[in-house]
């Protein structure tokens, strides 16, 4: 955006051009007195200049929280949530995933993270009245190959999991057609996917959920222990790219993360980043934690639970932090039809 296009007195524009400031946004980087000195304009001229440039970058008028609450600003907050496909799990999240921002799902291997992620990819495809966004999902795998057989099984069992949805609606959705799977073997491929492939799908309106499974894998493998700063920089660049996508398209992003053990010494440093009694903390440290808006953790507990003829290991889903949620948790199991929360009290056939 060049200076000429601003609605200003030509005298001001000429002075700015003579000062060789550059593009319009650079004007914001100078203070009033600095601009006066560079352009030799008076203070009121400089004020007009700064206001005109600022108005370029701040086109939206401020809204009141009441307008947002009444749903009058859908581009900011459409008021929807992405259901997890189970009312108990949704209860912990007060409805489901927020339709914007980074939500992290961390836990040890075998806890059920990929199961939940796949279930989200299915539930986002339902229409809004059934907790979806009526669109598909993009699943980026960085670890193992995508568990396609399990996805097929989940898809076939949807009528059984989602008994709240009329059968004709369930059968009308072609689930596997709307799930795009990408594999990223290294950081370069991951960044390329996020900056090129994803925007194309978003612009076509084909996906409204992005899953990265997992974030930790590539960042932990490609950087040595002493390359902390380097890793931080790449992590920030990756997170910035994700935030940009999320803001431009109101896209919820689920990042699956691994965990590391809590070190004895710094029990206070990361105290807020994990549940109080947890021996593990999500990987990638403070640099990543600062980028995440909602942090959820899943853990595997001793004992098993049963539902009908099926039996599953006991697991827990917990909110570590979120701007709108209490530190709630619930127990859940992984069944043939998917992940289902256990309404308390849960049935157990083994003492904990």
């Amino acid at each position: 955006m060049s200076i000429e296009q601003l609605e200003l007195n030509p005298r001001i524009i000429k002075a700015v051009n003579n000062a060789n400031i550059g593009v319009a946004r650079d004007i914001l980087k100078f203070s009033g007195p600095d601009l006066q000195r560079l352009t030799r304009l008076s203070a009121s001229d400089v004020h007009h200049l700064q206001t005109a440039v600022a108005a370029l970058f701040c086109k939206k008028t401020p809204v009141s929280a009441l307008q947002l609450y009444r749903g009058e600003c859908p581009e900011w907050d459409c008021g929807l949530r992405v259901s997890l496909g189970c009312p108990v799990l949704d209860g912990v999240l007060r409805g489901g995933l927020l339709p914007w921002g980074l939500t992290e799902l961390a836990g040890p291997s075998g806890a059920g993270k990929s199961q939940l992620a796949m279930q989200l990819c299915l539930s986002v495809q339902y229409p809004a009245q059934y907790g979806g966004l009526g669109s598909g999902a993009l699943y980026i795998c960085t670890e193992d190959s995508f568990p396609i057989r399990r996805l097929k099984q989940l898809q076939n069992e949807q009528p059984s999991l989602r008994s709240d949805v009329p059968p004709d609606v369930v059968s009308s959705i072609c689930f596997s057609d709307n799930i795009y799977v990408e594999h990223a073997a290294d950081l370069g491929a991951l960044m390329a996917c996020v900056s090129q492939r994803v925007p194309v799908l978003l612009a076509q309106g084909r996906v409204r959920l992005l899953v990265v499974d997992s974030v930790a894998a590539l960042f932990r493998s490609e950087f040595q222990a002493d390359q902390g700063l380097e890793r931080s920089r790449h992590l920030t660049a990756f997170a910035t790219a994700l935030h940009k996508l999320s803001a431009s398209y109101q896209l919820p992003i689920l990042c699956v993360n691994q965990v590391t053990d809590v070190m004895e010494g710094d029990s206070n440093h990361d105290a807020g980043l994990r549940p109080v009694d947890s021996k593990v903390v999500p990987a990638l440290g403070m640099a990543w934690a600062n980028q995440v808006m909602v942090r959820l953790m899943v853990t595997r507990l001793p004992g098993a639970v049963s539902m009908g003829t099926q039996s599953s290991a006991r697991r827990r889903l917990e909110v570590v932090f979120a701007p709108h949620l209490a530190r709630d948790s619930c127990l859940f199991g992984v069944w043939r039809e998917g992940t289902r929360g256990l309404p308390s009290p849960p049935t157990q056939d083994a003492s904990s």
């Binding site: 030799r40 108005a55 009441l66 921002g101 999320s246 600062n290 995440v292 709630d328």
Partner: protein, 368 residues
Amino acid sequence: MKPVSASPLSPSVKVKLLNAGFLTSEELLQLKPLQLSKEGGLSLEEALEVQQILREGVDLPGEGGAGLGSTALELLQQEERSIVTFCSRLDAALGGGIPVGKTTELCGTPGMGKTQLCLQLCIDVQIPECFGGLGGEAVFVDTEGSLVVQRVADMAQAAVQHCCLQDQDAEQRDALKDFTTESLLGHLYLMRCHDYVELLAQVQLLPDFLVKNPKVRLLVIDSLAFPFRRHFEDLSVRTRLLSGLAQQLIRMASQHRVAVVWTNQMTSQLRGGQWELVPALGESWGHSATQRLLLHWSGGRRLASIFKSPSQSESSVAYSVTREGFRDAGQLASSPSGREQDSSSQSESKQDSSSQSGSKRPRTQEGQ
């Protein structure tokens, strides 16, 4: 009586006028343009412009805005009120609450409650004056997307209930008619900035907004660190931008009589061979806020520590975040599910039994 040297004219014109012997703006306005151009050594157009600028009398930033020299006594008498946080211990430690006219920084790791405290302040600034509040409005600049309006509505409802539960005189009953969840949400203005350029632009436009909405008493930026912690090719550019931003915010706080509150992140720094958590944005940024609060965990409790303040001593206070919002630390009975129990039910029964002293300070829930 504004001196010529402090008037918003371009430097070359000012020099000419001062050399011609003009001392105050009033002298410049009393002459006809032709006279002014002759006596001041200016061209006719310049003289016309000078008079037009002086008549506009735009109160420009940095040009002798808030009074040319008050005495310290006058400033003391003007000492602004504070916005309560609804955590009575924290309010006591802060000398009443978050001060209006000054800048306050909230630091802490994710999940400590910085956004919660910001939202609580946005609600508390609107408490009517007869309840001991400021009866003002609030502006919330969101850079992270952490504003979920359902949460604000919950906190607003809890605040309304809190005020309704107290004994009221006629004036207070009257004020309560307008103190509803809707009105609380209606007087909270929201702005969303997705990167630091938008944030700088928004802050540039804020003074005009504050002039048009003179009832605003609180400006919150949540979070200020987030857009600046992306990669900068040249860190000195970031430092310069941040210091310019700090000056604008400090000026806004005192000129427009608003409390400016912003949140900062924490970062790990190697100090003396050990990794420590320090506030982000660098050493020089630490000087920008008048007051700094650090929210952190200690021994299983949430603590708010004042670690920089010109008037209060360094102290730590326990707090909690409940469904109702930011509150004193109640008796937290952690159930197996790990849920923090609401301290509201216990405090409400205490309020009913304690006697009302008739003071006009907003009654906050007493912690144990």
